[in-house]
Symmetry: C2
DNA sequence: TATTTGGTTCTCTAAATTATGAACTAAAGA
DNA sequence: TCTTTAGTTCATAATTTAGAGAACCAAATA
């Protein structure tokens, strides 16, 4: 990564803000931005530090977090001690499945709410049930949709 | 809301934590929990304050936030100055549409990244494009799925 | 008019989060 | 063995966020 242009910097910030809104710390979001914007699919630790003007420690922690979340990976080359980090671009289908699981978990909480309510307010139970069923519908159909898309692509 | 049972309290906390993970402050999430768990579809300001042992100011601010996000509403009764707050249960389809818009916005940022990269790394552009196209696919198909579901329900 | 009620706004503190810089470690090279 | 390199960990500072409590306000009641 030679030197970032003004345009690249701006786009990195936007991608960073998007990630912040998804719950990531700022530096972490910026690293994702950098990895998406970069000409090369992998950047060294040092390049990340220097391109974004952030500390080594912040970089180290952010990279660990992103690896745990399976959003980035790194490759190495023998005879070179550095690690080269890149966005894990093929991982989005895992992300979608995770998201759907979390939606399903929430629908289970709503079911519990209905159970606790028992017969005290059947009308409310019914309205909550409609929501539960939609959440379940989504977490069934979205993965199906995704597989359909994958199949069409890879044939 | 008489007095919450231990089970109700526990479920409220779980629903609260789910909302925290979606980016809400704790009190705000607990209020959502309370409104989902409650026997009655609407609770007064005072009942919320007392059930959750939270301050009036925290309650006021959280209720404002939840209204802005269109997750709750309140009703009033003439001759009664109180407001009665309840979860906006029928609003989930709006939530889904918003989520899809935000995904689409992100895919536009990725498109920009590809544009800025130009011909410097066509292979990377291609991998990013695959992701973009999937995001676009989702934000087209999920609303369609939802409408299908709505139609089947309401006929 | 004075008081109560229902809720909002303001000020301040406590807690949590984020990131820095320095110290450190382990491997590689001189 | 001494030094450099690559990155991690630790202590701490800075910032942000969350929420409490008091003061406040407007409408309703006495």
């Amino acid at each position: 990564m030679a030197q970032l242009t003004q345009e690249q910097r701006q786009l990195i910030e936007k991608i960073g803000i998007y990630h912040e809104q998804q719950g990531f710390p700022p530096v972490t979001g910026r690293i994702m931005g950098l990895l998406y914007v970069s000409d090369r699919p992998h950047l060294s630790f040092e390049e990340i530090v220097e391109s974004l003007n952030i500390s080594k420690s912040a970089t180290s922690n952010a990279l660990q977090l992103l690896q745990q979340m399976r959003l980035i990976e790194y490759t190495t080359y023998s005879g070179d001690r550095k690690r080269y980090f890149g966005a894990l671009l093929e991982n989005w289908h895992e992300e979608v499945l995770n998201k759907m699981e979390s939606i399903l978990a929430f629908s289970k909480l709503l079911r519990q709410a209905n159970e606790l309510r028992g017969q005290l307010n059947p009308e409310m139970n019914e309205r909550v049930l409609e929501r539960i069923e939609f959440l379940e519908f989504l977490s069934r159909e979205v993965p199906a949709l995704m597989h359909k898309w994958l199949k069409e692509r890879n044939q």
